[in-house]
Symmetry: C2
Subunit: 197 residues, 2 copies
DNA sequence: GACAAACCGGAGACTGTCTCCGTATCGTCG
DNA sequence: CGACGATACGGAGACAGTCTCCGGTTTGTC
């Protein structure tokens, strides 16, 4: 519908691309290590660039987060494609929710960052959640018609519930002695999924 | 077991008590208005004291949060007491979880603050969650023996799930058009509670 | 009314965010 | 190849929030 007004976007200059990639590479490490609230100036340092360079490429934390999640989301959407052709539509939805929760729980604070960006206009992170929610929608509809799901939850609610599960699993795991979030997640997820029937 | 080594704790000086109470009063307002991450120096200002005074009474944010939640938690525990004698143990647990989620969702960021403090030793906020979790335990046991609850969730998990629901309801409500968190919460809660059966 | 203990409050060190602009680098064209 | 314009760099620094230290003030008591 909209005229393809994509600017010619001449390719980045070599040094710019080099820095861009270095920043994203370091950001992935830093987010994994210290959560999504780690210092951006620190990331700039570790990437060998000044803070000005980082903020030119990524005007805010969401932009950097989005860039750091591109690969992970690509894999997620590939999984959705496969699950859409699975035999068991119920099991497919289960697996999808699990994958979603693991995605959102990969870094400390990520679920929160995603959920907040979801409600903010113009957040690149929130925008790119659109396709993931669409995928959720398709899998949910399939589990409703071919499977046994009856609850009237929206895809958006399921998406957020997945984030909320990641949040809960992380909090429940820390300090319960031995368990990790990977142990908690299936337990909590099964509680939720039984509620859909 | 431990010797009651409680110091005589002579009563606070009049000006100290006055400041303490002013700070807590302002803090409740500020947390409600701007979430649990609002500026503490700002609270000190609005309470008419210097930052030093605030930090002497409340060495960190958790301590202030704890003081600001005393009344609310008191009401919560009174509700638990009542629910322990309710006829329908299942409905009692439902109502308790709802109250718990509303408590944790009262201020933006509160669920997160509580969950984090829960895993940190020496946090007064986390410590005071103990009685609430104990209350949850009793209601859960009662719903297991007298009611129909069969899932093997721990009280601690339920407590965290309540926080996670508050988190999810808040995120789902913002930006879905018209709804408020109060509309979302029952929907999400019912999904969870059906999963316990 | 005077003294010691308790308490106040603001200056400021420190950390993290984000911007501005003089300088350096890149790609291209003569 | 050399030079020019566009593009990009990076660090100094403004700003905001956290938290501490200590000289000065207030309170309760004898």
């Amino acid at each position: 519908m909209s005229v393809e007004a994509v600017a010619p976007t001449r390719p980045m200059r070599a040094d710019a691309r080099r820095n861009y990639e270095a920043i994203v590479r370091v950001a992935i490490e830093a987010f994994a290590e210290h959560g999504t609230n780690t210092s951006l100036d620190d990331i700039a340092n570790r990437a060998g660039v000044g803070p000005g360079t980082l903020y030119r490429h990524f005007p805010n934390r969401d932009c950097l987060l989005e860039a750091a999640l591109v690969d992970s989301r690509y894999e997620l959407l590939a999984l959705a494609e496969r699950l859409l052709h699975a035999d068991d539509a119920d099991a497919a939805l289960d697996e999808w929710m699990f994958a979603l929760a693991r995605h959102a729980g990969a870094w400390d604070g990520l679920a929160d960052s995603i959920a907040q960006s979801l409600n903010r206009e113009k957040s690149p992170l929130g925008a790119s959640c659109g396709e993931v929610i669409t995928a959720t929608q398709k899998l949910l509809e399939r589990a409703s018609t071919l499977g046994t799901v009856t609850a009237d939850a929206t895809a958006r609610e399921l998406f957020i519930m997945a984030g909320s599960l990641a949040w809960a699993a992380d909090r429940a795991a820390r300090g319960n002695g031995r368990g990790s979030a990977d142990d908690e997640l299936p337990r909590l997820l099964s509680l939720l999924m039984r509620g859909l029937r």
